[in-house]
C-alpha cells in the first residue's frame, strides 16, 4: 500500500464524517423518542452459559454513539490539519459506531437476537468476501475483474451439478473453483494475451455465464431436478471450545466448512500479498510493470496466474450459494453479488482485511434489512439494500478517505 503523503490536504473526509456524525447524534440520539429500550438477545439456546438479554435505553445510547462519531470526526480534522492521512481503522471504527447507533435506533421498543443477527450477516457476506478477494488478487496484478459475478455464478452452477451427479457435496466443493478458473481463463486469454479491454471482456463474460447457466438450468436442471439439481448442503460443524464462547462462538465457529476455508483464504492471501516474495512481485507488477519487467519479473505470466487464482477463489465463493445456503441451484442465483463484492474490494482499498470488513458491513446491512422487515422498520427495506452502493459511490467520489487502485490496474502490458 502506498504510504506516500497526499500533497494537497483534503478536507473531504473530515467534513463527510462530521456530517454523518451529526446525523447520528441528531436523528438516532436527540430526536429518538425518550423512554424506549432496545433489547438485544445475547445467548442462543445451546450455549453453556446463558445471559439475560441486554436492554439498553435507546435515546441515551444513540446520543453517546453520536458523540463518539463526532469525536472521531474531530480527530480526523486534527490529523488532516497536521498533514496526515486519515487511517483506515478510524474509518472502520466510525462505521461501526454509526451502524450501532442506527441499530439501537431502529430496534427501539423491540427485541432482536444479536447472535442470530450476526450469524445471518456473516452468511450473507461469505460470497462477498470470496468475490472481493478474487477481485483484489486480479487487480493487485493489474487486471480489472468485472467478471466476479460470472465466476461466482459459474462456481455455484458447477458445484451444484457435480454434487448432484456424484451425490457428494465434497466433489461439488472441489468442482466449484474449476468453474471459476474456467471463466478466469477466458478473462486472462482475452485481456492478458490479446490485450482486449478488461472492462469489456468482464461485462461480456458475465452475460456469457448467465446465459450458459440459465440455458443449462432450463434444459437439464429444471426438467430433472433429482439427477441434476439436488446437491444437498454442508452441515454446520461446531469447533469444540471456540464454538462455546458467548455471541461470537456460534457466529464464527459454528459454521460450514466453506466458511472455515474462507478464514484460511483471507489469512493466507493477506500474508502472501504483504509478507511474501510472491506478493511483492504481484504488487510490483500491478503498480509499475515496466520496473517489474526490468527486474526480471515476467509481467504477463504473473498476471495470467493471478487472474486464474482469483477465479478459483471466486468459484469457491460460488459454491457457498448452492452447497452452503440454499441446497440447490437456481437461475441467476448470485443476483448481482459479484458487483457488491467489487464494491467491497474498492471500499476495502484493495486490502484483504479491508475488503473483509467492507463485505461484513454490506452483509450486516443486508441482513439487518430483512430482520427489521420482520419487527417493523422505520426505513423502507429498499433503501437499506441500496446502502452498500451509495456508500461505494461516496467512497470513490473521494468523500471518505482516498481510494487508490493499483497504479497499473487495467492497463495491458505490452513488452516493447
Amino acid at each position: 500500500m502506498s504510504t506516500a503523503r497526499v500533497l494537497t490536504r483534503s478536507w473531504r473526509t473530515p467534513i463527510t464524517l462530521t456530517v454523518l456524525g451529526a446525523v447520528a447524534l441528531v436523528v438516532f440520539g436527540l430526536l429518538a423518542p425518550p423512554g424506549e429500550h432496545s433489547t438485544f438477545g445475547v445467548s442462543t439456546g445451546g450455549d453453556l452459559v446463558q445471559f439475560e438479554p441486554l436492554a439498553l435505553p435507546s435515546r441515551l445510547v444513540g446520543i453517546l454513539l453520536g458523540i463518539a462519531c463526532l469525536a472521531l470526526a474531530g480527530w480526523s480534522f486534527t490529523l488532516v490539519a497536521r498533514g496526515r492521512r486519515v487511517p483506515i481503522w478510524l474509518s472502520i471504527t466510525f462505521g461501526v459506531a454509526f451502524v450501532l447507533a442506527f441499530l439501537t435506533w431502529s430496534v427501539a421498543g423491540a427485541q432482536i437476537s444479536l447472535p442470530a443477527l450476526l450469524q445471518g450477516a456473516l452468511a450473507l457476506s461469505v460470497p462477498l468476501i470470496f468475490g472481493a478477494l478474487c477481485g483484489l488478487v486480479c487487480e493487485r496484478s493489474g487486471v480489472i475483474n468485472i467478471a466476479i459475478e460470472g465466476q461466482l455464478l459459474g462456481g455455484a452452477f458447477l458445484s451444484g451439478v457435480v454434487a448432484s451427479l456424484t451425490t457428494s457435496v465434497w466433489a461439488g466443493l472441489v468442482a466449484a473453483p474449476l468453474a471459476g478458473l474456467l471463466v478466469a481463463y477466458l478473462l486472462a486469454v482475452f485481456t492478458v494475451r490479446y490485450y482486449v479491454n478488461q472492462i469489456i471482456v468482464g461485462v461480456v463474460l458475465n452475460v456469457l455465464v448467465i446465459g450458459l447457466t440459465s440455458f443449462m438450468f432450463g434444459r437439464l436442471l429444471s426438467p430433472n431436478p433429482e439427477t441434476w439439481n439436488s446437491p444437498g448442503r454442508f452441515l454446520s460443524m461446531k469447533i469444540p471450545i471456540l464454538g462455546d464462547i458467548p455471541v461470537i462462538g456460534p457466529v464464527l465457529f459454528d459454521q460450514t466448512v466453506i466458511v472455515y476455508i474462507m478464514y484460511v483464504t483471507v489469512a493466507v492471501l493477506y500474508v502472501a500479498l504483504f509478507r511474501s516474495r510472491w506478493g511483492l512481485r504481484v504488487r510490483a507488477v500491478g503498480e509499475h510493470p515496466e520496473a517489474a519487467d526490468t527486474a526480471g519479473i515476467q509481467v504477463n505470466a504473473v498476471r495470467f496466474r493471478n487472474v486464474l487464482i482469483g477465479g478459483a477463489v471466486a468459484g469457491l465463493g460460488g459454491a457457498y450459494f448452492t452447497l452452503g445456503l440454499s441446497g440447490l441451484f437456481s437461475r441467476e442465483m448470485t443476483a448481482g453479488q459479484g458487483f457488491i463484492a467489487l464494491a467491497a474490494m474498492i471500499l476495502g482499498r484493495w486490502n484483504p482485511i479491508g475488503a473483509v470488513f467492507a463485505a461484513l458491513l454490506f452483509g450486516f446491512v443486508n441482513n439487518l434489512q430483512s430482520v427489521l422487515g420482520i419487527i417493523g422498520t422505520p426505513i423502507p427495506s429498499e433503501f437499506m439494500l441500496m446502502a452498500p452502493y451509495v456508500v461505494t459511490i461516496i467512497a470513490v467520489a473521494g468523500l471518505v478517505g482516498r481510494v487508490r487502485p493499483p497504479a497499473a490496474s487495467g492497463q495491458p502490458y505490452i513488452k516493447t
Binding site: 490485450y195 482486449v196 461485462v203 440455458f215 429498499e382 441500496m386 451509495v390
Partner: protein, 409 residues
C-alpha cells in the same frame, strides 16, 4: 478516483479509458464480424445438441447406429434455429401478410430499446468512456415516462410528447450524476454506473410499493397502465411495433450528425482520442464528460420511455430486464457507430424475438440467445482470435497498443 487539484482536469496521465478501444473496433473488417456471428451460432448449435436428451440417447448407441446421432442432432438444431428464424423474421405458415410479418414486428419492437440504449453506450465509447449504466438509466427513464403517463391528464399529442420528454430527462439526470462525479472528483464511471444500476433497481422496487405508483387493487409491484393519450401509437396493426422505433432511428440520425458534423461531436471525439491533447487545445475535458453522460442518459431514457409507453405500457420491476447490458453488446457489435448500432440492435432484437418462439416451440431456453450474443462480441473484441481460427490473412497492423486502460484514466 484520486484527489484532483482544482485547476487541472481529472485526466492528466495518458490516453483515456475507452480510448482507442473504439478505434480498434472501427478498424476491424466486416469479415471478422460475419465470421464472429457464424462461429457464435455454431457454438450455440453445439450447445443445443449436447443438451438435448434425444441426442444424448442417440449418442449412447452411437456405434450401433451412428446415423441416429446425426439425424437427432440435425433435427434438434434444425428445429431450434428454424423457430428462431420464424419467430424473428417471417412466419410462412400464416396465411395473411399481416400475420406472417408479425414476427418481424416483434423483432423491431425488441430492437427499439436496444438501439436507443446501444447508442447511449456507443456515444460514451466515442468519448473514451464506459457507460455500463444504461440499465439504471433505462429504469429511471421508464419511471419518469411511466409516471408522467399515468399520473397526469393531458391532451392527446401533448401527453405522449411530455411523457417521452420526461423519460429522456429521467435518464439524463441519472447519467448526469456520473458525468458530474467524474468531472468534479474523478470517480471512475464504471464503478459509479454499476452502483447506480443497482440503486435504480431498488428505487423502482420501492416506488412500485408506494400509493402513487401501485395499481389500485393490486398487491404485487405493478403500476397502472399509462393513459391511452400517453401511449406511443402502434405503427402496424397486428404487430407491437410502436412509434418508439421511429424515435430510436431519429436518435441514431441525430447522433450520427452530432458525431460527424458538429463541433460538439468533434470535441467529443477529440477527448476520446486523447484527452491531454484536447485539454491542451483548450477544450474542457471535464465539461465534455458531463455533456457525454447527459447525452447518453437521454438516449437510455428514451429506451426506458419506449418500454414504459410503447412496449409494456406500464411499469413492473423487470421492465429493463438486463437490456442495459445487452445494449453494451449492441454498441460493441455496432462498433460504436450510430448506424452500426442500429443494425446490431435489429440483429439482437431478432435474436430476442426469435428466442421467444424457439422456447415456445422447441423448449430450447431463450437464454441461448444470451450465449450467442456474448460469444459474438467476444470474438469481435479479439480479432486475432477469429483470424487464428479461420486462418484469415490480414494486413499487418500495429499491435493493439492502445487496447485498454483502467480505473485511473
Amino acid at each position: 478516483m484520486t484527489e484532483t487539484r482544482e485547476d487541472t482536469p481529472p485526466e492528466e496521465k495518458g490516453p483515456s479509458a475507452g480510448q482507442r478501444f473504439w478505434q480498434e473496433l472501427t478498424t476491424g473488417n466486416i469479415m471478422v464480424t460475419l465470421l464472429s456471428v457464424v462461429l457464435a451460432l455454431v457454438i450455440g448449435a453445439v450447445l443445443v445438441a449436447i443438451s438435448d436428451p434425444r441426442v444424448q440417447d442417440a449418442a449412447g448407441y452411437f456405434f450401433a447406429r451412428p446415423g441416429d446421432l446425426f439425424s437427432a442432432t440435425w433435427s434438434s438444431v434444425g428445429d431450434a434455429y428454424a423457430a428462431l428464424f420464424t419467430g424473428s423474421l417471417i412466419d410462412v405458415s400464416e396465411y395473411t401478410v399481416g400475420r406472417a410479418l408479425r414476427p418481424f414486428g416483434e423483432t423491431l419492437t425488441n430492437a427499439t430499446p436496444l438501439i436507443a440504449a446501444g447508442l447511449a453506450v456507443a456515444i460514451a465509447f466515442r468519448a473514451g468512456l464506459f457507460n455500463i449504466g444504461a440499465e439504471g438509466q433505462i429504469i429511471l427513464g421508464a419511471i419518469f415516462a411511466g409516471y408522467a403517463g399515468f399520473a397526469f391528464d393531458l391532451p392527446i399529442i401533448v401527453h405522449v410528447t411530455a411523457a417521452v420528454v420526461a423519460g429522456i430527462v429521467g435518464g439524463a439526470i441519472w447519467a448526469g450524476i456520473v458525468g458530474v462525479l467524474k468531472a468534479k472528483t474523478g470517480a471512475h464511471e464504471v464503478i459509479v454506473t454499476i452502483m447506480l444500476n443497482n440503486i435504480a433497481a431498488f428505487l423502482l422496487a420501492y416506488l412500485l410499493g408506494t400509493v402513487a405508483f401501485q395499481r389500485p387493487g393490486r398487491q404485487d409491484p405493478i403500476s397502472p397502465f399509462v393513459d391511452e393519450s400517453a401511449q406511443l401509437p402502434r405503427l402496424v396493426e397486428s404487430t407491437r411495433v410502436h412509434a418508439g422505433f421511429l424515435l430510436a432511428i431519429l436518435a441514431a440520425a441525430i447522433i450520427w450528425w452530432l458525431l460527424s458534423r458538429s463541433t460538439l461531436g468533434f470535441r467529443l471525439r477529440a477527448v476520446g482520442n486523447n484527452p491531454n491533447a484536447a485539454h491542451t487545445a483548450g477544450m474542457s475535458v471535464a465539461g465534455t464528460y458531463v455533456v457525454v453522460f447527459v447525452l447518453a442518459g437521454m438516449l437510455a431514457g428514451l429506451a426506458g420511455a419506449s418500454l414504459a409507453l410503447g412496449t409494456e405500457r406500464h411499469l413492473n420491476t423487470g421492465i429493463s430486464g438486463g437490456l442495459g447490458f445487452d445494449a453494451i453488446t449492441v454498441a460493441l457489435l455496432g462498433r460504436a457507430n450510430p448506424w452500426g448500432t442500429v443494425a446490431a440492435g435489429i440483429l439482437f432484437g431478432a435474436l430476442r424475438a426469435g428466442g421467444v418462439t424457439m422456447q415456445a416451440r422447441t423448449g430450447t431456453p431463450i437464454d441461448l440467445v444470451l450465449v450467442v450474443q456474448a460469444l459474438i462480441v467476444l470474438f469481435i473484441a479479439a480479432p486475432p482470435l477469429i483470424r487464428a481460427i479461420f486462418r484469415i490473412r490480414v494486413r499487418a497492423k500495429e499491435p493493439v497498443a492502445t487496447a485498454s486502460k483502467g480505473w485511473e484514466s
